[in-house]
């Protein structure tokens, strides 16, 4: 079990953002609250605030990503930070340089934050343990373990539509076995006090021991969707599947794809979410992905505000934050 205390400084404030585990409700709420005003920045003619001027943020992506990498980059740029995108495939790691040597080189260039995506669980945590004290590390997805900024942008999207978390019925559908997004979401939903989390998928894609999250496991989609307020569809992660876990995509769609008929079991005002990229006709019908209940593109927009909030909090100075009322 990973010790998450490394995420917080001595005052209990965010230093690294590695997983939802180890963070209290108040800390999650504080990230959601901080994201609200950042969501307004995109309405400005100049979509930028000068908060992180002079800071250098490095995108270290060891694994493919479109939405996460670009929204982290945009978030950093809208905070006026400078951004370095390291393409791992063309970097010196392909010449045999070790990960830590590369990190120490980047530190020598006076960078302030590493955004890390890696196919190994625990990679961001490992890096956070080995960087200099002034550097913050943000996990942008590690293996099947955790994707905390995705979970927080999902919580932000849910809160904007549903206000209170407590009485929600949230259903997570699909490939839970490989989904770091689902793991982080379950931690976040539980921490924020959601009373009923249901997970549904084929037996081969529901991990053993998932009950420890306090979720209800279903294998029948219609039953799981009854009276749902929030439906979170997951992508089938074929690149991580070893062996034959699914008979066919057609059969998966028939049983677990979100269609108009299946959606009708949920509450009429239920929202439909998906972390992307979506596979139309495999996980979700196009008519729903593009329909009135879909908030999939809103999730992408909200990702920028959430990442601006996380970056600002993690790069806030380590000295005491004062609640000054006397700005004159």
């Amino acid at each position: 079990m990973i010790n998450n205390n490394i995420q917080l400084d001595e005052q209990g404030r965010l230093k690294h953002f590695l997983s939802i585990e180890g963070l209290k409700r108040q800390q999650l709420v504080s990230i959601l609250d901080a994201a609200e005003p950042f969501a307004n920045v995109q309405e400005q003619a100049v979509k930028k605030v000068p908060l992180l001027r002079g800071k250098t943020i490095v995108n270290l992506f060891f694994e493919a990503s479109t939405r996460t990498r670009t929204t982290f980059e945009l978030a950093a740029k809208r905070l006026s930070a400078d951004v370095l995108n390291i393409n791992i495939n063309t970097s010196a790691t392909s010449k045999g340089e070790s990960l830590l040597d590369m990190l120490h080189n980047l530190e020598s260039m006076h960078c302030d934050m590493f955004i890390v995506r890696h196919n190994q669980s625990g990679a961001a945590h490992f890096i956070a343990q080995h960087v200099s004290p002034h550097i913050s590390v943000i996990n942008a997805g590690d293996g099947c373990h955790s994707h905390p900024s995705q979970a927080m942008l999902d919580m932000f999207t849910i809160r904007r539509h549903k206000k209170e978390f407590a009485n929600l019925k949230v259903v997570i559908v699909g490939d839970l076995l490989h989904s770091r997004v689902a793991r982080s979401q379950m931690h976040a939903l539980t921490t924020l006090g959601v009373s009923e989390i249901r997970v549904v998928g084929p037996k081969t894609l529901i991990p053993a021991g998932i009950n420890t999250f306090g979720v209800h496991v279903y294998h029948n989609m219609q039953e799981a969707l009854i009276d749902a307020d929030v439906i979170i569809m997951l992508r089938l992660q074929k690149e991580r599947m070893q062996g034959a876990l699914l008979p066919s995509e057609d059969e998966y769609y028939h049983n677990y794809g979100l269609t108009e008929k299946k959606l009708s079991y949920a509450r009429p005002n239920a929202i439909v979410m998906h972390p992307g990229p979506i596979n139309r006709g495999v996980e979700i019908a196009s008519s729903i992905a593009d329909g009135p209940q879909s908030v999939i593109l809103e999730q992408v927009t909200n990702g920028i505000a959430i990442r601006m909030a996380v970056m600002s909090q993690a790069l806030s100075p380590r000295s005491e934050i004062t609640k000054t009322g006397g700005i004159v």
Binding site: A39, V46, L51, S316, V328
Partner: protein, 176 residues
């Protein structure tokens, strides 16, 4: 010490500001004017004055937290309410309202933020109190009253309803 002991009559200060702003508005086309209060005290004052004026544009609220010059010292303010500005500041005459003008740093931040929303035709600064001791070349065109305070004193506007002024000793060092 209370506001009455300081001989500050809030109603009179607001009336003085109202008179100053009214005569300024006589020189401008009402459709081109946008009134904006700086969160929080400046907005409370702006609300009071705005309701006596007949401006077509809604009242704006400006939160300068993201534009402050002390993020590297004190970090992100824990509770930031979003700015709410009427659409389109281009070519508008802005009446910018704050409670107390001191170092001028808040106004510097406010101007930077305003210009990220558009290019106003002009910005007129109106403040309830001007306590002097500027650190930047900024001055108010309309002032309720000029006052003089000791360095360890700070004047605070409480509100929004009812509003009152309090003199605070030994303000936090981090105050701009």
């Amino acid at each position: 010490m209370t506001d009455s002991e300081m001989n500050l009559d809030l109603e009179q200060l607001l009336e003085t500001m109202y008179q100053g702003i009214s005569s300024k508005l006589q020189t401008l086309a009402p459709d081109d004017v946008i009134m904006i209060g700086i969160h929080t005290g400046g907005f409370w004052i702006a609300e009071q004055i705005y309701q006596r004026l007949n401006l077509p544009s809604p009242l704006g609220s400006l939160n300068i937290s993201f534009y402050r010059d002390d993020f590297t010292k004190i970090g992100l303010h824990p509770e930031v309410k979003p700015s709410q500005l009427p659409a389109g500041l281009d070519d508008k005459h802005i009446i910018l309202i704050d409670d107390v003008l001191f170092t001028g740093r808040t106004i510097r931040a406010a101007l930077n933020e305003l210009f990220d929303y558009g290019r106003p035709a002009s910005v007129t600064l109106a403040v309830l109190l001007d306590r002097g001791e500027r650190e930047l070349p900024i001055c108010a065109e309309i002032t309720g009253q000029k006052i003089s305070l000791n360095p360890d004193q700070q004047i605070k506007l409480n509100g929004p309803d009812p509003m009152s002024l309090t003199l605070v000793q030994n303000p936090l060092e981090s105050a701009l």
